[in-house]
């Protein structure tokens, strides 16, 4: 059963990723990205990460994607007749080289390592949210605070950048 769900979620996310890159209309791309995000959330459930599943659905599919769709609707872009970069042939060659290197690295990796302190039965006893919370607020407290400050900076930066120019700014 888990194998069936894994095959379903992974095939649909790969197809949705290809559609996101390949579709012409930006709104359709956004909807394909929504499909991708929801199916990746399904993969997280298969990996016993329910908290990340909820965060993925709420933050990614709920907030970030709605932001993208807002900007798409706001700008009201016309679909171009040419949708690739003007020098895409050269760039595609570079992309193929990077993908080849990725493949080589993956084939050489051992996929094993030292086991940590959170086996599946321990995590499932109290729930994944409990395990994430205990770890987050003990060992990773400083990175957590740094991410909070980072998000504050991102919000201020976005507001300053997207502010409508007032008459005082317009005299340039």
């Amino acid at each position: 059963m888990a194998l069936f769900f894994f095959v379903y979620f992974s095939l649909v996310s790969i197809a949705a990723g290809l559609l996101t890159v390949a579709l012409r209309n930006p709104v359709h791309c956004g909807l394909a990205l929504l499909t991708l995000l929801l199916h990746v959330a399904g993969l997280f459930v298969l990996l016993n990460a329910e908290f990340l599943f909820a965060v993925q659905v709420i933050v990614y599919a709920g907030a970030i994607l709605v932001l993208y769709l807002f900007v798409l609707m706001l700008l009201n872009l016309k679909t171009d007749e040419r949708y690739l970069h003007s020098r895409y042939a050269v760039i595609l060659f570079a992309a193929a080289a990077v993908c080849g290197e990725l493949l080589i690295l993956l084939l050489r990796s051992p996929y094993a390592g030292a086991k940590g302190d959170a086996p599946a039965e321990v995590v499932l006893k109290d729930g994944d949210s409990y395990a994430v919370g205990i770890k987050m607020f003990s060992d990773y407290l400083l990175p957590f605070e740094i991410v909070g400050v980072f998000l504050l900076g991102a919000i201020i930066g976005a507001i300053v950048l997207a502010k409508t120019p007032t008459s005082a700014d317009a005299e340039e």
Partner: protein, 100 residues
């Protein structure tokens, strides 16, 4: 039981798709969406290794990645709005204001 390498393969395919999208597409918004695909591929990897190597650290880092992605989307879209206001275009190969 699904092997770990299957998750790594899915994540590698998604990462390559996102990479090609970032490099090849002309619309800046689609480029940002492709960056989101790449971040999701990295998240799948982190969570899969976290599950199979029985450590919580991968899930914590995946949470941080989601937070950084939210900030990146906000700032990136603000930059798109600024550029669009000046040029009426969001094509990456027409953006050369900072070139000299």
């Amino acid at each position: 039981m699904v092997p770990l390498s299957a998750y790594v393969a899915v994540s590698a395919i998604l990462f390559a798709t996102g990479l090609i999208g970032v490099l090849v597409r002309r619309n800046f918004i689609i480029v940002l969406m492709s960056v989101e695909i790449m971040l999701n591929a990295a998240n799948i990897n982190l969570v899969a290794f976290s599950h199979y190597l029985e450590s919580m650290a991968g899930q914590i880092v995946a949470l941080f990645v989601i937070a950084i992605a939210a900030g990146e989307a906000a700032v990136g879209l603000a930059i798109i709005i600024v550029v669009f206001r000046g040029r009426l275009s969001t094509n990456v190969d027409e953006m050369n204001l900072l070139k000299w």
